[in-house]
């Protein structure tokens, strides 16, 4: 009596179903095998022209991060293939190269830009083609793009803590502030925010001076003379957003006219380790800077990062070799790559919209300490560190914020009515009174 028992039936069905599942599972496996081709990522940094000094290091660190990820098996089982282009410090070329990366090379993500004007020039390209850009430099805020993640500091993550430190008892209790910058968008906006902040904190308007110099300005005699008169009576500090090449003549003149860091410190927002390489630092010692990362930060992650970068520079025969240094924008560029990787793994695809949502709230143990991407405004929660310049071109951390500072793309001092939110709102929105 060979009856087809119910049990047997169950067995066969199960086996069949199992086979079905196996076949089903096999299909994506085949698909993965087909898409084992690498994921292209774009690197959009100037390798020639005036900005090359700063931006070459960012390219190096992005390529190093890609190497690291590839050495650990890549993302979703696929290797990363960087596509490096050179926009040559030319703002129009930035837009063209960005278009090329998105439309021709079809990269999944782009890491790039330094100056605000280059970012503004590529912004429409990324928005019209739904690309994804990770921007690693501290900037003036007042921007909230769906297609950009800003891993550098917003004004409240650098400018305000810098000024707060100088006003604090520990920082010296300074009461008069000289805002000095190069004449372009970042210093102008930064000083607007700083001024509103200082006024809000009860600093009288005649205790705040504001001054700008042209690009590549070399003759700081008059300005230092003014600072000297301004600082007589003590308790005055300089908040400097002077850019690039003008810093050496400024600090030299400052020291030569007899001003000292103990009596009138300069808090710089644009001087980092990479800029100090190539400077005679003797006149800078004792002055301050505000950043989210320094090479001198003591942590296992940072030791690993610094050593890895030096080794990478040496191995690839980059100029400078193992004498290369790391700084804040490099750290931001580095963790940007890793945050993107984690987001892709969470989204299980490189699709821009899916990755974008997966980036929200992503955490990463960055060299400067743990960071966290904001839940809705495309910026990052970061720690703020005040550093004192040492003779060897490094910084000694003298103050560190407790915990992470929330990013505010729209400063509450200059634009209290605006906010940035890509979850509950569509980007920049008006806050209800």
């Amino acid at each position: 009596m060979s009856t087809y028992s119910r049990r047997d039936f169950l067995k066969t069905t199960l086996v069949a179903a199992g086979a079905g599942v196996a076949v089903g599972a096999g299909l994506p496996a085949i698909a993965t095998a087909q898409s084992r081709e690498p994921i292209k990522i774009g690197v959009l940094h100037s390798l020639s022209g005036t900005m090359a000094i700063s931006e070459v290091s960012l390219r190096d660190v992005v390529l190093m991060a890609a190497d690291e990820i590839n050495a650990r098996g890549g993302v979703l089982g696929r290797k990363l293939q960087p596509v490096v282009v050179d926009p040559a410090s030319n703002w129009d070329l930035f837009a063209e190269k960005a278009k090329q990366l998105l439309l021709q090379d079809k990269v999944a993500v782009v890491f790039g830009c330094w100056t605000s004007v280059s970012r503004k020039s590529v912004l429409p390209v990324f928005e019209n083609n739904n690309g994804l850009l990770f921007y690693p430099v501290q900037y003036e805020g007042e921007e909230c793009s769906k297609n950009v993640f800003y891993t550098g500091a917003t004004p409240n993550q650098q400018l305000i803590p810098g000024a707060e430190y100088l006003m604090s008892k520990e920082g010296g209790g300074y009461k008069k502030f000289y805002l000095l910058g190069t004449d372009y968008v970042f210093p102008r906006t930064a000083n607007k925010i700083l001024k509103s902040f200082l006024l809000a904190k009860g600093v009288p308007a005649d205790s705040i001076a504001e001054e700008y110099t042209p690009f590549n300005h070399q003759d700081y005699q008059t300005i230092v003379g003014k600072i000297k008169r301004f600082s007589s009576g003590g308790s005055a500090a300089v908040l400097s957003t002077i850019n690039g090449d003008s810093n050496v003549p400024f600090y030299k003149e400052f020291a030569n006219q007899g001003l000292r860091a103990e009596n009138a410190p300069i808090m710089a927002f644009s001087v980092a380790e990479d800029e100090l390489r190539g400077m005679d630092t003797s006149s800078l010692v004792g002055h301050l800077a505000a950043w989210n990362y320094y090479q001198s930060v003591e942590s296992p992650q940072n030791a690993k990062f610094v050593n890895a970068f030096k080794a990478y520079a040496k191995k690839n025969n980059l100029p400078g070799g193992d004498k290369r240094v790391t700084d804040d924008p490099m750290e931001a560029a580095y963790f940007g790559v890793h945050v993107w990787k984690q987001a892709v793994e969470k989204a299980k695809t490189t699709d821009v919209d899916a990755v974008r949502k997966a980036v929200y709230g992503q955490e990463f143990a960055a060299p400067g300490g743990k960071i966290k991407m904001h839940e809705n405004n495309h910026h990052a929660y970061k720690p703020v560190l005040i550093g004192e310049i040492l003779k060897n071109g490094q910084f000694k951390v003298v103050s560190r914020t407790k915990g992470l500072v929330e990013p505010e793309p729209w400063s509450k001092y200059t634009s209290p009515d605006k906010g940035c939110d890509w979850v509950g709102h569509q980007g920049t929105y008006q806050k209800k009174a």
Partner: protein, 551 residues
């Protein structure tokens, strides 16, 4: 807890001068250390106040170790031993640290780092520690061998205007020999007395501050003059002093602006001199002039590194060697440029312009390849750092004084060369009429090469001088070339006097405008002024006239 803190603080104030405070009893000391190792923020702060209040250098050293995170605790809660860590080493797989006891620094053996608990100085504790260390630091600085450091400390004390430091300043003043430090000390002392309660002393202080031309005291004096509660005699004295100081400030500002104008003019002159000679003599618009300056700057960098490597003791004098070396290097490149290509294009100004521009790009890229794209570091020798205080509130930086002297020397040298030597006679002859000079036996080609070499050498010299005020990088030349051309064109082609006058005019005007309108506008105003001027006199200040103009 707060009242206790206040009591402790008052007790500390009441103690005689710091440094002579009563030594800490063993019980107090133990209590303070135990409190530090604990978790109670108020008690820890009080402990710092107790230890710092002794003013004892050994306790201050302990506080410094605490601030820098070198203090550790060992043992159980309540009976912990507080220790200062010194050197760490890793003999096995665990880091081990050398330990010493606080205050007397007796060796307490070594222990693995993991077995110790760090007595961390949080922000609040660091704030509490700072004034003690600062006071100590100022005392040390007042005894520093460097007058600039002593002066800085005196100025800091004056700004703090803390009555407790009066005695310290008085002792420092009694043994101070340097005039400028004495001035700063007297100023600090008067500032402290002005803020005191004793009326005759305050009157004296106000008068003294006026006599000292102390701009530092202006805010304080103005406050006294406006204070309705102050006695009228004091207010009058303060007002009079304010007036005195303000008049002095106007005088120093005027002198300062003059000096700044002279300094900028000398820099412009140094840059434009070589260009003017080459332009004037050969009609060659040398676009590579800026890069020749960069070559001079890099030559200085190389000389500096050679000194650092070979004669580290004499590194301060590298600059004296760098001056002639940079001249020679730039001159040599100039000769190669002239003999190699430029001479084939005489009389074709547009082609020479393109050619020299191409040469400038080549030199720039060569520098970038050889030395890297980043700026290089050229340190100022010690004798060119800092400045000489000439009047109260007026310090003239050494590097700028030096550049003024160098520019003066260069101009004098050029005048001597052109008007007092045979070579100069030949140069002038070729400038005025090339063909006729050739007929009379002057080898024009050779004169051209020599002149170009001198012009290039002057560019190298300018580059060497510029290392003392600016950056050294491959794009150095581009930053200065526009200004150099502006001076030459404004001055008029072929006349040294025109170049000198144009440099002085542009430098002086620019520094005259800047205090009122700012650096950005000053730059714009200068360019507009030059444009308007050239509209009226297209040939510049001193136009070449007569037949020579056609040559």
């Amino acid at each position: 807890m707060r009242p206790l803190l206040c009591v402790l603080f008052v007790a500390w104030l009441a103690a005689p001068a710091a440094g002579q405070a009563a030594p800490l009893s063993a019980a107090d000391r133990e209590r303070a250390l135990q409190a530090l190792a604990g978790d109670d923020g108020d008690r820890r702060e009080a402990a710092v106040t107790v230890l710092g209040g002794t003013g004892d250098p050994k306790w201050l050293a302990f506080l410094m170790a605490l601030r820098d995170g070198h203090v550790y605790a060992r043992g159980q809660e309540g009976a912990t031993e507080v220790l200062v860590g010194t050197a760490t080493s890793t003999p096995g797989d665990q880091p081990v640290i050398e330990l010493r006891s606080p205050y007397d620094g007796a060796a307490r053996g070594r222990a693995p780092l993991a077995s110790l608990k760090e007595v961390a100085a949080d922000r609040r504790l660091r704030v509490a520690i700072k004034p003690f260390l600062d006071a100590d630091e100022t005392r040390l600085q007042l005894a520093d061998p460097d007058p600039a450091v002593r002066r800085g400390a005196a100025i800091k004390l004056g700004n703090q205007a803390d009555a407790r430091s009066a005695s310290v300043i008085e002792t420092a003043l009694a043994r101070e020999g340097d005039g400028w430090v004495r001035h700063a000390l007297a100023e600090a002392l008067a500032l402290i007395r002005l803020g005191g309660a004793d009326l005759p002393a305050r009157l004296d202080a106000a008068r003294a501050l006026g006599g000292l031309h102390s701009t530092t005291a202006l805010p304080a004096l103005r406050a006294v003059a406006r204070d309705p509660a102050a006695p009228s005699a004091l207010r009058t004295a303060a007002e009079r002093a304010t007036g005195q100081i303000e008049r002095w400030a106007m005088l120093t500002a005027a002198v300062e602006t003059l000096f700044q104008g002279a300094s900028l003019a000398s820099i412009l002159l140094l840059m434009a001199l070589g260009l003017a000679i080459v332009f004037g003599l050969m009609g060659v618009i040398n676009m590579a002039h800026g890069e020749l300056m960069a070559l001079g700057a890099y030559a200085t960098f190389v000389v500096q590194n050679t000194f650092r490597a070979a004669w580290p003791g004499a590194v301060d004098y590298y600059f004296l060697v760098a001056l002639p070396v940079s001249f020679v290097v730039a001159a040599a490149v100039g000769v190669i440029l002239e003999r190699g290509v430029i001479r084939r294009l005489y009389g074709r100004p547009l082609e020479t312009l393109l050619l020299t521009w191409g040469a400038s790009l080549i030199i720039q890229q060569a520098l970038r390849l050889w030395f890297g794209a980043a700026n290089v570091d050229v340190a100022a020798p010690r004798w060119l750092s800092g400045g000489v205080p000439v009047m109260v509130n007026l310090t003239l930086p050494y590097n700028r004084v030096f550049i003024i002297a160098l520019a003066t020397l260069a101009v004098a040298g050029m005048y001597w060369l052109l008007f007092r030597t045979n070579a100069g006679l030949r140069i002038r002859a070729v400038t005025q009429n090339r063909g006729m000079a050739g007929c009379l036996g002057v080898r024009a080609g050779r004169v051209d090469a020599a002149t170009f070499a001198v012009g290039a050498g002057l560019a190298g010299l300018a580059g060497c001088a510029l290392t003392q005020i600016g950056n050294v990088g491959p794009s150095l030349g581009q930053n200065y070339i526009v200004d150099s051309f502006m001076v030459v064109v404004t001055g008029g082609v072929g006349k040294l006097a025109g170049t000198i006058l144009a440099a002085a005019g542009i430098g002086g005007l620019s520094k005259g405008i800047e205090p009122a309108l700012g650096a950005v506008f000053a730059k714009v105003a200068i360019l507009v002024a030059v444009m308007l001027f050239l509209q009226r006199r297209p040939a510049g200040l001193f136009a070449a006239r007569g037949r020579s103009a056609e040559a």
